[in-house]
């Protein structure tokens, strides 16, 4: 099997400005934060970002990397409103496409299945249609229903974080929820998986039931060993959300000087420096 091990920098070197990138996880849960931090350090910009948004969206918006955000919500979960997202919305200058959460899943599913769209009731009659006038409806060929035709959300690249992976790109979640990470990978031209631990395939399979190996190597184009890589979002059962750090992040985000200090302290250096600064035993 092909060895797909690479570093965060290798992943970012494969990304280009103007790409459409999907980020797995959900809110402030199991986000591929070390990959996001690597993106922050790069000169890649002008991105279209598709996400069940959390601090991934917040950080990339704050760094001016995002031209177009496609999302159902952006939240830090225990802190309902993401401060950078909120500031970016209120400042303007970025295109925001806000879908119902289920529509987002449906668009990824359509892309994964190479379909131009999938029909749904979600979004009908709501302002999702008013703010996205390109959305069309489709009449059932079998009845009278007129359904919203959710267009495929095709991704150039997907970034997800898992608990375990092997070097070939099989990857396992050990927490309670797979979120939509497999769908993000399948909707993408190329999928990059970071993991808390990279282990031999036999160890991966011994680590949980077969169905916990959510991501299969045919999805995957790169595997990154990223211990504590989801910090400060949760990565159950390896660790929970770092609530104290998240609060510090949210507090700093509200004030330009405090944010500059936060960036200097945590984000100006590489991932090792970040992990040292947050006190992790990487």
């Amino acid at each position: 099997m092909v060895d797909k091990l690479m570093t965060e920098a290798d992943v970012v070197a494969r990304l280009r400005s103007g790409m459409t990138i999907g980020i797995g996880g959900w809110g402030s849960r199991r986000k591929p934060m070390s990959l996001v931090r690597a993106l922050l350090r790069s000169d890649v910009s002008d991105l279209t970002l598709v996400t069940y948004g959390g601090p991934d969206a917040g950080l990339l918006l704050a760094a001016g990397k995002v031209r177009h955000l496609v999302y159902g919500f952006v939240s830090l979960d225990s802190i309902p409103l993401e401060p950078h997202f909120r500031a970016a919305r209120e400042r303007g200058g970025v295109r925001f496409t806000e879908y119902d959460e289920g529509m987002l899943q449906w668009g990824l599913r359509a892309a994964a299945n190479r379909l131009p769209f999938l029909p749904t009731r979600a979004g009908l009659a709501s302002d999702v249609r008013r703010f996205n006038p390109d959305l069309r409806t489709v009449r059932s060929p079998y009845g009278d229903e007129e359904l919203l035709a959710m267009p495929a959300l095709r991704l150039d690249a997907a970034l997800v974080h898992m608990n375990r992976a092997d070097a070939a790109g099989n990857a396992q979640y050990l927490g309670p929820d797979p979120y939509f990470d497999d769908l993000f990978c399948q909707a993408a031209e190329r999928a990059y998986v970071s993991a808390e631990r990279v282990v031999p395939t036999a160890e991966l399979m011994a680590g949980g039931p077969p169905q916990s190996v959510l991501i299969q190597r045919w999805h995957t184009h790169g595997v990154v060993h990223a211990p504590h890589g989801a910090h400060f979002t949760s990565c159950a059962p390896d660790y929970g959300r770092d609530e104290a750090f998240q609060k510090a992040y949210a507090d700093a985000a509200g004030d330009p000087a405090a944010w500059a200090a936060f960036v200097e302290r945590y984000l100006a250096g590489d991932e090792q420096r970040y992990q040292r600064a947050v006190g992790a035993t990487a």
Partner: protein, 260 residues
């Protein structure tokens, strides 16, 4: 209003009256998922299952279906199933769910906003986003909880239609309206439904000590009135015991809604 009202031999706070009013939203719903958002509706849903509606399904707030009754600020003792987000969309689109959301604005016909205040392109206050509100309302029963009833929340027209109302659904055609099922609105002043003219919001009951005029004045549109506006039922002694001893022993409810 006063913060303490008589309930038979016991006394109930406003928060407890609201929680019980929320519980009644799920009455006779059968074997469906009750999805309460925030503390008071969560108390209500757990109370409903512990008393009148034992068949309801409830989640632990993460990815599990929880059995039994447990405290709003604790993890459940027993689980009965798995419900990751992907399965939440399945149960939602199957129609086997009744959500109670907390909008920042809701209008006469039940259009609800969770997304932003002001123009969408450059809002004066950006909030969560659409979340699941468009899909929820086009697929299954929906109720709303408003912790502070005011003309800023109960508005003539919401800035962003996330959850759809009766007027918008009717304009969009029969498929949008097919499974629209707006049930009730519980606020800190009153209980309302959508049995007014053309599916307009209607005042059903006011909480103990609240006058009809007070609710009308706190509502930013012409509020339809039920023929006989009653007083919101008080918690029974058994309901109060469940709330205080089992579901919310540390009193989170009193932080979510306060007497005026």
């Amino acid at each position: 209003m006063t913060d303490v009202v008589e309930a038979g031999a016991a006394t109930a706070t406003l928060a407890e009256v609201c929680a019980v009013a929320c519980a009644r939203a799920w009455r006779d719903d059968g074997e469906i998922l009750a999805s309460p958002i925030t503390v008071i509706p969560s108390i209500g849903a757990r109370l409903a299952r512990a008393t009148t509606d034992p068949d309801l399904l409830l989640t632990d707030g993460e990815a599990a279906l929880a059995a039994g009754v447990w405290a709003v600020d604790a993890a459940p003792d027993e689980l009965e199933g798995w419900l990751p987000y992907r399965a939440v969309f399945d149960i939602c689109w199957a129609g086997r769910r009744h959500v109670m959301m907390g909008p920042v604005q809701v209008d006469r016909f039940g259009n609800a906003n969770l997304s932003a205040i002001g123009p969408f392109d450059r809002p004066t206050r950006a909030l969560l986003g659409m979340r699941g509100a468009p899909g929820n309302t086009t697929n299954h029963a929906t109720s709303y909880w408003v912790r502070r009833h005011s003309p800023r929340v109960f508005v003539e027209r919401v800035d962003v239609v996330c959850g759809i109302g009766h007027d918008r659904a009717a304009q969009a055609g029969p498929t949008a309206a097919e499974f629209l099922d707006l049930r009730r609105v519980v606020s800190d002043l009153a209980v309302l439904d959508f049995a007014g003219p053309d599916g307009a919001m209607r005042l059903v009951s006011t909480h103990p000590g609240v006058g009809v005029d007070e609710v009308v004045a706190a509502t930013g549109f012409d509020l339809a009135l039920a023929e006989d506006v009653t007083t919101t039922p008080l918690p029974t002694a058994a309901e109060l015991a469940l709330i205080r001893e089992v579901i919310d022993p540390r009193g989170l409810r009193e932080r979510e809604v306060r007497p005026r």
